[in-house]
Assembly symmetry: D3
Homo-oligomer: 136 residues x 6
């Protein structure tokens, strides 16, 4: 029997959407007010989905406490109350759009979760905007 | 890298579930209190999901501002504060169930979104009832 | 010891904001798209707050099951899947704004709740608009 | 045209995670505070997803009122205000993890829903923890 | 300048509503299915409101981190994953209705918060039922 | 008849909690990770409450569309996608705690709302932290 378990977490961070190799006008045209050079920010809501067989022994796909602690260690401690552009090395040369943040989160968690389990990331940038990424 | 971006919108509308080619008793039997001839209404919550490659240039699947404006123009301005049965031409001969509203929304948005992007619609009629449609 | 207990309920209804003694232009000027003559509608979320002493005998301010049944009988059965303007006698000559709906709900519930208990009504017309009324 | 309709329900229940064939230390090591012998509890939020063709006759995949009544009869009346371990026969020898509860709900509903319709269960144990199961 | 700051927390617990000095029939009549002798449970959502002057020095009414840690220590560690009737001494002879739980939480927090600050407790037993208590 | 109408809005912003007249160690001791010199950010959810008599003429306390436009003009356009410390003049010498942001919002809106109407501000900094201020 295959099931998906989902665990919700959150972090608050500042970011700015822009490319260093574009001038201000080009950045403004593409990224609009998200290009504010002084940064703006979000309460990011993260949902981590793990799919795999339900263990006959424990009744778990994955121990939710282990998943919770993994998200805390790998994502919340790295991103919470940070400036994604300045404080988080993965975004040194990567524009921190919600899509790219989802990819970075996936890539950080993927090696920490057993390879027989599927992983999917949903990231809400605001209550109205979200992204889903599953490594494809 | 393929991701899904989702954008939430909403509109308030009146509707009545019934078929003009059925008599009142038959409509009442199938649609119950949703067949009130004086109409009732909902705050519809709409989520539009767009799936495609993350652009290396912008870090976007689709510019969320463009998606937001498209939903506003095509759906919110056409449906908000309207009587779906009387004011919206697509429902002149189509029963405005949540399923059919989802199909109409999909069909209105599909030609406006690049054909390499997949589209899926989720429509909440109430906080407890929703429908998902992806053109299949 | 005095506490407030709150119970949430909901109903779906159509309405139109207008005054029969004003012409269409005046109604349009004041009520805008809420004046659509074909009606529009909402999922109303209702919260009923009752304040009074905690009974030493039961540990209740009021039995939540009794409050739930009272709201169902007096409000949900009268308003749900109705056109407030056409189907609900209280709005025959009263504009069904969220404010006035709250007053009508208060006036319907007040005589059914013991007079030593205070009553307050909160009504969400949409997730972003709400009204609170307590009989003052 | 194929759509998915989803209906939300809820029930409150007590449970304890443990295996009778393990000693207390082993149960404590695997299930931690969820192994409290005196039980703890949750407000479970259940979403039942049904996928199938939209009927040309009714505009429905399934009549939401029938689905609502089915969930009430089969799940809410069996689980609500119960101790899952002691009062619900399906968990007599099955550890009531969220994964296993989802499987039991699926297995109870599957024979009651027409076989041409697909069924999927989402169960929130808390606002932060959920499980999805579709019979695979 | 006087403001109210509010902090949300949660705990999961089992309980049973009954009085040991009443027989089963009397308990069943008053508490209905909440009187299940095997217990049921809830995800309690707690909101702690603290009112007082905004400090000119810090811009805080109370340091939210201190409030969060206080709620964790005094309430979450005492109530989470517990059976309120059996595991929590305050309910040894007190019926754990939402009203009485709110009073117990207020009484546990009141001496830990400076006396010039007002305290109010809101407790959601389910998403539809809540209680507010402020020590009156 | 006196009622309170409430309107929800939101804005995304970056901020840093610190005092320029304290050294880094003192700021770190008091404001912890909120003192990140590179800023972090939030999706602020704002609720504006206006209390006054229900107009016999319109059935409104205040026209919700006017209130919505006022919040958009005075608050959303001034704060959204901004760095509160650097881009918003009111915080040039004022620490942008949730308490102080609430006071600034109150002070900006108070002169724009008729003096016979009472005003109250609720600001959610995160889904778990909020502040209420009413000018006292």
């Amino acid at each position: 029997m295959i099931a998906t378990v989902s665990r919700k977490a959150h972090f608050n961070a500042a970011h700015r959407l822009f490319r260093a190799d574009w001038d201000f006008e080009k950045n403004q045209e593409v990224f609009g007010k998200c290009n504010n050079p002084n940064f703006h920010g979000h309460n990011y809501e993260l949902i981590v989905h793990v799919t795999g067989p339900i263990s006959k022994e424990t009744g778990f796909v994955i121990d939710m406490k282990i998943l919770k602690d993994l998200i805390k260690l790998e994502i919340e401690e790295a991103f919470d109350h940070k400036n994604l552009n300045l404080d988080v090395p993965e975004f040194k040369d990567l524009n921190p759009t919600a899509e790219n943040i989802s990819v970075v989160i996936f890539n950080k968690l993927r090696p920490k979760i057993e390879s027989n389990l599927e992983l999917k990331i949903t990231l809400f940038e605001t209550p109205r905007n979200s992204v889903t990424y599953s490594g494809q």
